[in-house]
Symmetry: C2
Subunit: 115 residues, 2 copies
C-alpha cells in the first residue's frame, strides 16, 4: 500500500510513545539505549517505534553499527505545519469575525460596507 | 482504552479521505449526501469517517434528524498547531543557526558573547 507522506507523518505521530521519543530527541541526539531507559520499554519495542519514525522521515540515525544515535528531523513537521496553516482561520478567531461580518451584511446593516 | 486528545486528533487526521472531508467542510457546511457524492463512497462509509471526525471534535453536526449538516471545528487543530510549534526550531532554520552558534562558543570564538 502506498501512503501519501502526510498520512505517514500523522500515523507516526498518532502514538504517545513516539511523540515522547521525539520530545526526548528535541533535547539532543540519543541512542536506542538512552531512549529505552526512561520509557521502561524493551529495546525491541523501542526499535519498532524508531523504525516507524525513521520511515516517516521524522528521525535519522547515525551510521556507526554499535552506536547509532537518533536525531530528530524537522522536514515532515514542516509539511504538517503548512497543511495545518490552511485551516488557521478556523481557530484564530478570524472565521468567527468573518461569520459576524457576513451576518451583518445579510441583515442590511446600514453601518456595513457599501459597494 | 483511553487516548489522549492529541492521539485522537492525529489518528483521525491520518486518513486521506477524512482530510478530504475536512477540506470540503472548510468551504462550508455539508450534509452526508453532499459529502458522499464527490468521494463516490457509500453513505455508511462516509458516516463511519464522520463518526471518527466527530469523536475527535474535528466536526460537529446539526440536530435536525433529516438534515444534519457537518461543520468543521478548529479547536483540535489549534491544539495540534500548538504542539507542533514547540518543534518549530527544527524546521525554520533557527536550530541550524543555534547549532552554529554553539559550535562557535565551543571553539572559544573571540567574537562570541561574554558573560
Amino acid at each position: 500500500m502506498t501512503q501519501d507522506s502526510l498520512t505517514t507523518t500523522l500515523s507516526a505521530l498518532a502514538d504517545p510513545t513516539r511523540r515522547a521519543i521525539l520530545a526526548r530527541l528535541s533535547q539532543g541526539q540519543a541512542t536506542v539505549n538512552d531512549l529505552a531507559e526512561p520509557f521502561q520499554m524493551s529495546l525491541p519495542a523501542i526499535s519498532k517505534h524508531l523504525k516507524v519514525l525513521e520511515r516517516a522521515g521524522l528521525i535519522s540515525r547515525g551510521r556507526q553499527a554499535q552506536w547509532r544515535p537518533c536525531r530528530l528531523e524537522g522536514a515532515p513537521l514542516k509539511s504538517l505545519a503548512e497543511w495545518l496553516e490552511t485551516y488557521r482561520r478556523f481557530w484564530d478567531g478570524s472565521f468567527d469575525r468573518m461569520d459576524d461580518y457576513l451576518k451583518e451584511i445579510q441583515k442590511g446593516d446600514p453601518n456595513g460596507p457599501r459597494n
